[in-house]
């Protein structure tokens, strides 16, 4: 899945990917942390995909062959779940299914950092994290504090480019999301997506669930970069809409699910804030 995009993703590509998501309803296998399971499944359902949280070693590989995409999230790994992650990632790679690695805490915790690094050999289609996690995974030491990002996404662009040795595309979430990947004729490029809401990081597992949505979009988009950009845009637009209806983080969480469901072509065209792709040095 180390496939390049044929051109820089624009709003028309996002609209097309969104239409494909709604039409094909991709099934995403999620091997994820205990905090995120319920919200992640609801995010996938609201956005237009289908969730299945199959993460035991007995079924993980088999199910990766059934699913349309796989998410591996290192938030609360157990020994058994890590075994499942290896099996699912390997099976996904072999079956040509897109899979997403969310390396939560990889920078600050050696045990899971080692697991994250090891999983790179199965070539994740997408790596999505916050800036600290992307920096940490790239081996630069990110100083992540818990699961929050203490680094600015722009500081993660270099490390994200380094990670393109293993993954087709990499993003760091933040007030402005930073996505890097290879584009035919342009080389390695950065696409920035603005928008969203300051309430988004006030609700737990919103970042985790974006990783799952990225797996869903990667299953229906023409290339991983377009899929990842589309997931970020759908998320940002929905967060912006939800904020208008919210009185705080609790009402925001419910309104965000409503908005993920309600986002249509008009909302995407009206609110998407995708910057033009910028070449970045490899």
């Amino acid at each position: 899945m180390l496939r390049s995009a044929s051109h820089a993703p624009k709003i028309d590509d996002v609209v097309a990917a969104h239409a494909a998501l709604r039409a094909r309803r991709p099934l995403v296998q999620c091997l994820t942390n205990t905090v995120s399971t319920n919200f992640m499944a609801n995010v996938l359902l609201a956005a237009g995909a289908a969730p299945a949280m199959v993460d035991n070693p007995e079924e993980a590989a088999l199910f990766a062959g059934i699913a349309d995409g796989v998410l591996v999230n290192l938030g609360t790994p157990t020994a058994a779940q890590v075994a499942s992650m290896r099996l699912a990632a390997e099976a996904a790679e072999q079956a040509g299914k897109p899979w997403v690695l969310d390396p939560i805490g990889a920078g600050g915790l050696p045990w899971r950092g080692g697991i994250a690094a090891e999983l790179l050999r199965f070539h994740p289609t997408i790596i999505r994290g916050n800036a600290s996690e992307v920096i940490g995974l790239a081996g630069l030491g990110g100083g992540a504090r818990g699961v929050d990002s203490s680094a600015d996404p722009s500081a993660a662009v270099g490390p994200a480019v380094d990670l393109l040795a293993h993954a087709a595309t990499v993003s760091a979430s933040g007030p402005v999301d930073h996505v890097v990947g290879e584009i035919d004729g342009l080389g390695v490029a950065l696409v920035r997506i603005a928008g969203g809401s300051p309430l988004l990081p006030r609700v737990t597992a919103t970042g985790c669930a974006l990783g799952a949505l990225a797996a869903a979009y990667a299953a229906v988009a023409p290339d991983p970069l377009t899929g990842l950009v589309a997931a970020h845009v759908h998320y940002s637009v929905a967060a912006e809409i939800a904020e208008e209806a919210a009185s705080g983080p609790g009402s925001f969480a419910a309104a965000f699910l409503d908005a993920l469901d309600g986002v249509d072509e008009a909302a995407l065209r009206d609110r998407a804030r995708i910057e033009d792709a910028i070449p970045v040095p490899r």
Copy 2:
């Protein structure tokens, strides 16, 4: 608990079961998947029951003797949890406590399919699933895709009747819920419950939580079929009310909990849509 109903369940029986639930507040032990735990506990609390998610092998059997009913849901089984399920199901049968089997994914995944089939020897009081799962468990192959139902509930009636060899009553959830069980003087019969909301399957774990509510109702109803019908009716009426207050799946989930709490005798009598029982061939 392979007890027949003395007559076809009607609205008066549902109202009486609902009053008994509120008066007795049955304690339901839930051995369930990681996606559903929080929502399931909130559904039980809102409806008028009490939850306890005791699912470790050290305590599962002991707690089945303390609880008023037990739910076993195969959504995200682990080896340890499966050991607990066997212990809890056996203890529930021996203590004469009602227990519900929700065979998620039993049709499409051989490992858990084998577990589900093995658990039948402890004679679940109730089997509740979507149509694909009921068909899959009955051994006909259901083609379940993830945890969603791709089959119509009416196609599950024959398989559900087959499962009456193991369970007192069986239901397949869908736009119209199909419940089968034995009624004195009528033999095996089908009771259909309409209503509900298209938003219900857009929220994860709503089907799972219905299984837990069925265990609660089975603990207070005169027979398993009446309990299962009452759980479906309480759910359908609450979903219909919630839809009126919802702007999408996120606000629906909160409104659904409010409505489960708010449903009273008047709402049940006004909105319940229970069809007359129809005899079906064994």
Copy 3:
């Protein structure tokens, strides 16, 4: 952390602790039950703290050194998680980090009761439970039914005082919260906090999440008793505000997160109901 309070906590102390929470945003490591993870993380985020649910044996001790406080909740223990609890509690004690023990079900279930009793040797800063759990942990047999409290908090004062042999401060949640601890010059004292909402126990994991919030406050308050009182007051005030916006338990849960976020000095001063400390016999 068996530190006495220098004086009985008053509203000014609560306001100061609240300001410190918002300024310092303490990181709380939560080793908790599967029902509570998502809601607990959202409660911490909404109140102004940061959550991290690191509960595997490989990382539990290391992370207790990174975190500002630790919560150990016995709601759904597994063998691996119990090993992690021992490691995290020991590491917290050695590092002088405050840690909270929530002994769910300790009174009624021997296996976890033994674990809870064993964890006392690491001297929890705070023990928080409902009355039955506090009574059960103190060895008097509480008759807990599931995770609910069937005893009145006032009946837990004696047992709570007994537990001060192991912990700096102990609280029993209920319609009126009862907090005991040692105050310089006054000796062992009881502080009662009224307010809250009858909807609070209708939402699962609200008690669990209060334990996590207590760990957050203990990390920023001058002493454990003041921290525990501040957590109870923040919670009660937010619940009272949320009830005014709620139509039932579902909308209450969202409004409660909004209110935890929205509570400011004015709301605390306007609504807090802290009774004067009363000396109690040791």
